[in-house]
């Protein structure tokens, strides 16, 4: 039997390769919150002429409206972000812009007051805390021993930080924002990652029951080998679906699909190559301490 667990440091290394840039980015650049969280407003308009001349847009609107950014979107749209304004002011602004491009179409207008923004941050954090706690308690209950619960949770953190890190990098380099949908993708990733981890742990436990005297590392290796096929196939179907959505799907949910995609990939990876090696380390550490006591 191949001793996959021998390569555990390689697996951790791969994880770190993705984690470290992400965490550095998080510390330096943090994430870019959308107006959902910060408050402010967003206008998306379709106009080739204005897209080509963003300076004009800035100059025209600057007097009444504090702009924070003007971004390209899709083929011929631009997104203007700035302070909170009301509907009437927005209409006036667009009237001014129409002077340059009468064919301008307003695709989308969102404005969020700061109070609601702060509220949303609290609400989403609460949701994340609730889901993580539930998962931790559930795994703990299902698998009785502490090491399973802890390993599953660490795998969850692993996935979360890779996802956050990627979006921090995306935010810094491409201006991609973190909004409510991102948090939803995060929560879905958590549940999916745990799903996968549980399947592997189930197998480990089953094997332990059968032959109690076998070395733990062999049990783990066997469990991993047996579930690997299934794990990859399962993720394949989800990843294929999400790739299709991310590449071909609608503009507005593109980054949502990409967040889900990153989550699906790391979730699969972490179940086999992070959670299981962690189990082994825990077990070895316990044995080491036991020996020392004697």
């Amino acid at each position: 039997m191949i001793n996959i667990m021998k390569f555990k440091w390689l697996f951790f290394g791969i994880s770190l390769m993705f984690l470290i840039p992400g965490i550095i980015s998080l510390l330096l650049f943090k994430v870019r919150p959308s107006i959902d969280f910060t408050g402010g407003s967003l206008i998306e308009i379709k106009s080739q002429a204005l897209r080509a001349d963003k300076e004009f847009v800035k100059l025209t609107l600057q007097a009444d409206y504090q702009i924070s950014s003007i971004q390209d979107s899709g083929d011929d749209q631009i997104i203007i972000r700035g302070q909170v304004i009301d509907n009437q002011s927005k209409d006036l602004m667009l009237a001014k812009l129409k002077q340059k491009d009468p064919n301008l179409t307003e695709l989308r207008f969102e404005t969020v007051g700061p109070v609601l923004g702060k509220e949303l941050i609290v609400k989403t954090l609460t949701a994340v805390v609730i889901v993580s706690s539930f998962i931790t308690l559930y795994v703990g209950w299902r698998f009785n021993e502490l090491k399973y619960g802890v390993s599953a949770v660490l795998a969850m953190f692993h996935d979360t930080f890779i996802l956050l890190g990627s979006f921090s990098l995306l935010g810094h380099f491409l201006g991609i924002e973190v909004d409510v949908l991102f948090v939803t993708a995060l929560l879905t990733t958590l549940s999916f990652s745990v799903h996968d981890t549980i399947v592997v742990f189930d197998r480990v436990r089953e094997k332990q029951k059968k032959v109690a005297s076998v070395k733990y590392v062999d049990i783990l290796n066997a469990a991993v080998l047996e579930t690997l096929g299934r794990s990859i196939n399962n993720s394949m179907t989800i990843i294929v679906m999400l790739l299709s959505l991310a590449i071909l799907g609608g503009q507005t949910i593109k980054w949502f699909a990409i967040a889900l995609l990153i989550g699906a990939v790391t979730g699969t990876y972490s179940s086999t190559f992070t959670a299981v090696p962690l189990l082994l380390i825990w077990d070895s550490a316990k044995n080491f301490l036991k020996k020392k006591k004697k």
């Binding site: 609400k123 096929g229 949910i253």
Partner: protein, 454 residues
């Protein structure tokens, strides 16, 4: 008939019914092949005629969210500073009622007006209007306060005005009495008959006005107008001096409650401010939906291809189960009136990807059992049995997550955004339906069509 066969026919039946349900109302068919040209429009029949009876088929439509059909969503804050704390909830409900009625008059289809309370003193309204072409007009409509006033029916003029509604309306003479003078309206019960009535209480100025009007016009009709439309036409019986009035009539409790809310709606002035507004144009939504559906179909096709290549005949059966799953899920959306949003579509597609998972778990188990030397049928049954535990666990976690996203109890510390909810609901329905198709459908198909030889 063997049990499996019965289940099989049940599944076929469900699938056919669901396929019917998902068919859109009209399917245009434009087709040209050399000389053959077909240009027909299949219209889905709305009723069945059997012998002489016509049965109307239920017409379920797929509800589209704001981000798909375009529209406006506003969160309105209310200024309750001038309202006593015990009246605030009622004030919010009456504001909701007023806004709902206006929005109906405005001609919006399926408007949504909800109340929401954030913390101790923050009363809000969430209004969703689909297909609005002029958001500013809608905002003006919502923002103005309801107007209540009392008018005397000029009996001679009204007798002549039988031709048009406008003439009829013009036969009312306005008085100075209106919502401004109304202090409160509430439901009471008549002392003698026990029937529900609506009690009005005017303030000082109103009391005087009311006394004047009722003594000068005893026996005439004093119409109560709300938002320029007549609400009630009671007759004045005697002069009323204490500023209180009882509106009698054959009210049910509901009618009395409604009226008092409506009157209060006129009476309580709650300034409204826009806390959040999202307007999305229809075109953006349309393109997104088309793209996403295309991506979804391609995705499903690829998944099915993968299953068939990797698992052969078993994979083919699983693909059929997948199709059944997709058909059932969309039919459920229509029946339950689930509002489909773009994240909801993403949720649907994600759950399709996950639906295959239970099948894969079962198949992989089967492969192992076969490798261990089990006969085919045993391997199949063992595969089902052992995989079930893992399937149950995994799906339980996803169900818990989707419940948190949906926030069915409207817990204020959790999100209530429509988009997130849409995703949560499709995910939940997806998981539950996929449990059914993954386990029941695949199992039945396999038991019927794969006869083990070993």
């Amino acid at each position: 008939m063997s049990r499996h066969l019965r289940v099989f026919f049940l599944i076929v039946g469900l699938s056919l019914i669901s396929s019917w349900i998902i068919l859109p109302e009209q399917i245009p068919l434009n087709f040209q092949f050399r000389q053959l040209k077909i240009e027909k429009n299949f219209v889905k029949p709305k009723s069945l005629t059997v012998i002489n009876k016509t049965i109307n088929l239920p017409d379920w439509q797929l509800k589209r969210g704001l981000d798909i059909q375009g529209g406006m969503q506003v969160v309105l804050g209310t200024d309750m500073s001038s309202i006593a704390p015990e009246d605030r909830q009622t004030a919010l409900s009456s504001a909701q009622e007023v806004i709902r009625r206006r929005v109906d008059l405005f001609g919006v289809s399926e408007p949504l007006v909800q109340t929401s309370k954030q913390g101790e003193n923050d009363y809000r309204l969430i209004v969703e209007l689909a297909g609005i072409s002029d958001p500013q007009q809608a905002l003006d409509l919502i923002g103005t306060t309801a107007q209540l006033d009392f008018r005397i029916l000029d009996s001679s003029a009204s007798a002549q005005a039988t031709s048009s509604a406008v003439a009829f309306l013009n036969s009312f003479v306005p008085t100075d009495l209106g919502g401004k003078q109304l202090k409160r309206a509430n439901v009471q019960f008549d002392q003698t008959s026990g029937k529900p009535v609506v009690g009005l209480e005017f303030d000082q100025e109103g009391q005087k006005l009311f006394a004047d009007i009722t003594s000068n016009h005893t026996g005439e009709v004093l119409a109560i107008f709300l938002d320029q439309a007549p609400l009630m036409l009671p007759r004045i019986e005697t002069a009323i001096l204490d500023g209180r009035a009882i509106i009698t009539g054959d009210f049910t409790l509901e009618e009395a409650k409604n009226l008092s809310i409506q009157l209060n709606a006129g009476a309580l002035v709650v300034p409204i401010s826009v806390l959040e507004q999202r307007t999305i144009g229809a075109s953006l939504g349309q393109i997104s939906v088309q793209d996403s559906i295309k991506a979804g179909l391609i995705g499903i096709g690829l998944v099915m291809l993968f299953m068939i290549i990797y698992y052969g005949l078993k994979g083919f059966l699983a693909s059929i189960a997948l199709l059944v799953y997709a058909i059932l899920t969309i039919a459920i959306y229509k029946i339950m009136g689930v509002t489909l949003t773009l994240p909801g579509i993403a949720g649907l597609l994600l759950s399709v990807g996950m639906a295959v998972d239970s099948n894969i778990l079962i198949f992989e188990r089967m492969k192992e059992e076969l490798r261990d030397g089990q006969p085919f049928n045993r391997a199949m049954e063992l595969g089902f049995g052992r995989a079930f535990d893992s399937i149950k666990d995994a799906n339980l976690v996803t169900i818990a997550t989707s419940l948190v996203l949906i926030n069915p109890l409207d817990l204020s510390f959790l999100n209530s955004s429509g988009l997130v909810r849409g995703f949560g609901i499709t995910l939940l329905i997806g998981v539950l339906t996929s449990l059914f198709t993954g386990i029941v459908v695949t199992r039945t198909l396999m038991r019927l069509f794969l006869k083990g030889s070993k």
